[in-house]
């Protein structure tokens, strides 16, 4: 959390810095953690599309990686992966 601003720092209720919610990490919400087995991944991009955060990064070659800073552990990616390349494991274990 950044330092709370005083009224003197505020004017209209406008946030000028686009997309600054990246500073707010939601990874701490997670109870279960998705773990991707890159060897099984077929680069279908479904997990990238379905991830609500988005916390699945699409690389140049359409392989993906999970950004645990934001992943809330919903498990959609694991449930939808057509080749079962993603497993949900207990946070802090996998």
């Amino acid at each position: 959390m950044s330092k709370l601003l005083s009224w003197k720092d505020l004017s209209a209720p406008i946030i000028a810095e686009a997309g600054n919610s990246v500073l707010y990490k939601t990874g701490g919400w997670r109870a279960l953690k998705p773990v991707l087995d890159q060897s099984k991944c077929i680069r279908c991009l479904l997990c990238w599309f379905y991830c609500p955060e988005p916390a699945i990064k699409r690389r140049e070659d359409d392989s993906v990686e999970i950004d645990y800073d934001y992943c809330k552990g919903c498990g959609i990616c694991a449930n939808e992966c057509p080749v079962k390349a993603i497993a949900m494991v207990e946070e802090g274990v996998g």
């Binding site: 950044s2 601003l5 209720p13 946030i15 810095e17 686009a18 997309g19 600054n20 919610s21 990246v22 500073l23 707010y24 990490k25 939601t26 919400w29 997670r30 279908c44 991009l45 479904l46 990238w48 599309f49 379905y50 991830c51 609500p52 955060e53 988005p54 916390a55 699409r58 359409d62 950004d67 800073d69 934001y70 809330k72 552990g73 919903c74 498990g75 959609i76 694991a78 449930n79 939808e80 949900m88």
Partner: protein, 309 residues
């Protein structure tokens, strides 16, 4: 002509919706927002009605938006968007300001109920905007109260599964028919389990000058009492059981985009959601039968409209 894609790979990479938002784990709204911001080309402005999307993505001092984004109030997203559109039209003429496309996101409460009048006005006046309702079938932001979009039989906190009245007794409004009745040129339903279909429809809407209305199926694990991991599975089942037909209307022509020839039993869809659990009890069978009739009638109606009956 709108860009149309065939595979997910063709979907633009640029993310104009940032992570770090506070939507629930397993929420179905971001898939819509991310896709819309990819599918609408060029400069754009987003207007959002009060609701889950608004509160969870703009908690001061953080925003998840990388496009200009405006929230005014609950019932007036379409009117606010109309004002923005009208302003840019005037400024374009007078000062050569480049006119962005205006995209509106409203929940079902903000669209079907409290915002319907403003939406009706904006559609009738023909503003150049894309109105997308993210429909999670109840007022989820305030704690799961029924809306005009809640399907028959669903339990919410204001249509509870009681001993006498098992869930919401009334059927769901038909938003697309309401939109079409206003003379919009394009209207369509969207579902996150069908990404390419969704992208293409939004792109098509964006290519049309004037108002278009899109109706998006939005899984809500919190309000539906479902497993967050199964949000997309539920969305897919909604289509495969004919609960959520994927179709579009374009200049007088109806097309069913996913023709479900042999539907899965509706129970397959219902049993994944706590809001429908009571419908599977024998004493509430009558309500379930009504819901089934709603689904069947709607499907048959669409078949006729699409010339497939």
């Amino acid at each position: 002509m709108a860009v149309q894609i065939k595979t997910l790979r063709e979907m633009p990479r640029e993310e104009l919706f940032a992570p770090g938002h506070r939507l629930c784990a397993g929420c179905g709204i971001p898939q819509l927002v991310r896709t819309a911001l990819k599918a609408v080309p060029g400069p754009k402005v987003v207007v959002t009605a009060t609701g889950c999307l608004e509160v969870a993505t703009t908690i001061f001092p953080y925003t998840s938006w990388r496009v200009p984004w405006v929230h005014n109030a609950f019932e007036n997203a379409a009117a606010t968007a109309a004002g923005i559109e009208a302003a840019f039209k005037a400024l374009e003429k007078k000062r050569g300001v480049k006119r962005p496309k205006v995209i509106v996101f409203g929940g079902d409460g903000g669209t079907f109920d409290i915002g319907l009048q403003a939406l009706s006005g904006a559609l009738e006046r023909g503003h150049d905007l894309i109105y997308i309702c993210y429909d999670n079938e109840a007022y989820m932001n305030t704690g799961i109260q029924r809306s005009g979009a809640t399907p028959r039989g669903a339990a919410t906190t204001t249509s509870p599964a009681g001993k006498v009245i098992p869930g919401k007794p009334e059927r769901k409004k038909d938003l697309i028919a309401i939109a079409i009745a206003h003379g919009v040129r394009y209207a369509a339903t969207l579902n996150p389990a069908y990404p390419v279909d969704m992208f293409n429809k939004i792109a098509k809407a964006a290519s049309i000058e004037g108002p278009t209305v899109l109706h998006y199926f939005t899984p809500c694990p919190t309000g539906w009492r479902s497993d967050p991991a199964k949000s997309i599975e539920i969305a897919r089942l909604a289509v495969l059981t004919r609960v959520w037909p994927l179709y579009e209307y374009e200049d007088g022509v109806y097309r069913i985009n996913v023709l479900v020839k042999s539907p899965r039993p509706i129970e397959d869809y219902l049993k994944l959601q706590g809001r429908f659990a009571h419908l599977l009890q024998p004493e509430n069978r009558w309500m379930l039968e009504q819901l089934k009739r709603d689904v069947e009638e709607n499907w048959n109606r669409l078949l006729k409209l699409a010339g497939l009956a």
